[in-house]
């Protein structure tokens, strides 16, 4: 929440100001699309630890944060990244090794939990997951729930429909709201004040953004307000939700940003190889995250040719005929 006119900041400052050890955070995007990677790499570089991460199917960013040891608690619906990682590799390892407190929901449920937080209600109902282990198996202990005021007292609640059979429902599942300390999203366009315009699918970014105490927006293009306000029907987040606007071209790289660039299959395949092994993964971090001073530096390592290769075609919004093997 901030009504100021100019919220433009450097990514280093934005992360330092809003993301603390132990913060509850959420990140935008879905699997290999529009993950706020520049911000994620900066979190890793700043060595911020003990984060509680709320994720639906946020993909690449989740895996890198887990791999770097930034996350201590995770609420998640899906840890996969297409054929590059049918199950996200560092996520899989961390859970199998018992190194992560985690709790499973579904994608819709996580989206609804962000929505509940965004609209200021303690819960939202759904019919999804009745009869399943999503309801039965809780990841966070009763003790943790009692001790930590930032975790709801119950994972979910099944309730009989108080309106009898109204809405063709006998029961509903109530899902507790999420209000992260910080949400970070990467978008196509923003102005200095924070009005946001995304292109293509919005995933759950809008709900995540509005549910959060602080909101960092990284953007491909920092544009004049006039451009966004001349057709405000196309904007998705009003400026007062936004606390920091950071201009980072290719800020979602190596994930995609619709109408700007595609995901980089070479990077993601390489990442898979590094991620398979603990020692190799350290090398990955040393080379691609700790070893670069900022996101532009990473792009420099990748090189112009690769960046050119993933450039979006203006008709379709993705890189036509990109070799994605």
């Amino acid at each position: 929440m901030n009504t100021e006119k100019d919220k433009v900041m450097d990514i280093k400052d934005a992360i330092k100001k809003f993301v603390k050890n132990g913060s509850h955070i959420s990140i935008g995007g879905f699997t290999l699309n529009r993950n706020p990677m520049a911000a994620v790499y900066e979190i890793i570089r700043q060595n911020i630890k003990g984060l509680h991460l709320y994720a639906h199917a946020n993909g690449q960013a989740v895996d890198e944060l887990i791999g770097a040891g930034s996350i201590s608690k995770l609420e998640i619906a899906y840890g996969g990244n297409a054929r590059f990682a049918p199950t996200c590799i560092r996520f899989k390892k961390a859970i199998q090794d018992g190194k992560l407190l985690f709790e499973d929901y579904t994608n819709y449920q996580m989206a609804l939990r962000f929505l509940a937080g965004a609209i200021g209600v303690p819960f939202l109902p759904t019919k999804s997951s009745l009869g399943t282990d999503i309801l039965n198996k809780w990841g966070f202990s009763k003790d943790l729930r009692e001790k930590d005021p930032k975790i709801p007292n119950k994972k979910v609640i099944v309730m009989d429909n108080p309106f009898d059979s109204w809405g063709d429902a006998s029961k509903v599942v109530l899902l507790p709201a999420i209000n992260p300390d910080v949400t970070i999203i990467h978008v196509q366009k923003a102005d200095k004040q924070g009005t946001v315009r995304m292109k293509g699918l919005t995933f759950a970014d809008v709900e995540q953004a509005k549910s959060s105490k602080y909101l960092i927006v990284t953007c491909e293009e920092l544009v004049e307000s006039d451009e966004l306000r001349n057709d405000p029907d196309q904007n998705q987040i009003p400026f007062f939700y936004v606390d920091a606007v950071v201009h980072i071209p290719y800020g979602a790289y190596p994930t995609a940003c619709y109408r700007y660039y595609d995901y980089d299959p070479i990077y993601l395949n390489e990442y898979r190889r590094y991620a398979q092994d603990d020692e190799l993964f350290k090398k990955y971090l040393d080379k691609f995250v700790y070893g670069v001073k900022d996101h532009q530096d990473l792009l420099n390592i990748i090189g112009k040719e690769r960046i050119e290769m993933i450039k979006a075609d203006s008709r379709t919004g993705y890189a036509v005929n990109l070799d994605r093997k």
Partner: protein, 255 residues
């Protein structure tokens, strides 16, 4: 007869399940190709949509995930997760949606596990988790399940019930409060299984040419009725052409 791979026959069999006018909730991988193939072959008015919010995408290239930028092109609408799942939960639309799901384990009532094997908190094997699968399996009226035919996958009891099938059979779904119908078909690398109309128990409905019902049973952790099984019609030349040339010319998924 044209040569075909197992993945190809599985895809074609799934495509045949999609009826014209169906709204297809599509996952990643093979299910996407099946839905694309159906539109080209038997269900031109079916609509593909993705949990990420893309409705009726023009798939000029095969998306690798439901969030692939390729799903965002030339849609009827680009929305988000809350839109897409609500479409399935919607009482009027949901009835026309068919889901395509995968899993690591399945039981005889079509309940699926895509979460983990072993203890939930410290599992032997961790999978991606529900994603939107449990949501779709909860909401839609019919669903198609893809799974490899292996003993460790067809189990008496799933280690984690991620996506509801027919639960404990009979009117189990209704008792639990689930709106939609359960799974209608399971497509494996050997066979097609369906569910008894009354008991909701899995039975062998069809087997691929060259596979015997006994071999299928040998690869399952539980017994099923094989008395209703017939050999499945192999993919036609036309079906294969569509698959290979229109759906996945790069063989990103079919290989």
């Amino acid at each position: 007869m044209t040569e075909y791979t197992l993945r190809e026959i599985m895809t074609v069999v799934a495509a045949r399940e999609i009826k014209d006018g169906d709204i297809v909730f599509c996952g990643t991988g093979i299910s996407m190709i099946a839905a694309m193939a159906a539109k080209h072959i038997n269900a031109p008015n079916s609509v593909i949509f993705f949990e990420t919010g893309a409705i009726d995408s023009k798939l000029e290239e095969l998306p690798l995930t439901v969030a692939d930028p390729r799903v965002m092109y030339f849609t009827s609408m680009n929305g988000g997760l809350t839109d897409s799942f609500a479409t399935m939960q919607n009482k009027f639309i949901g009835k026309h949606v068919i889901g395509i799901l995968g899993a690591a384990q399945i039981d005889k009532f079509g309940n699926l596990n895509s979460t983990s094997i072993g203890d939930y908190l410290k599992p032997k094997a961790r999978f991606p988790g529900s994603g939107g699968a449990c949501d779709a399996a909860s909401f839609v009226n019919r669903s198609i399940i893809f799974i490899q035919h292996e003993k460790r996958k067809f189990v008496n009891k799933v280690d984690y019930l991620t996506s509801p099938g027919w639960l404990d059979g009979l009117d189990g779904r209704k008792k639990a409060g689930l709106p939609g119908g359960g799974p209608s078909v399971v497509i494996t690398n050997m066979a097609v299984m369906r569910f008894d109309e009354k008991t909701k128990e899995m039975y062998l409905s069809g087997y691929y040419p060259g596979i015997t019902p006994q071999k299928i049973l040998d690869n399952m952790g539980f017994e099923v009725d094989i008395s209703r099984a017939k050999e499945i019609k192999p993919p036609s030349h036309e079906e294969l052409i569509v698959l290979r040339e229109k759906c996945d010319p790069q063989r990103l998924i079919l290989d």
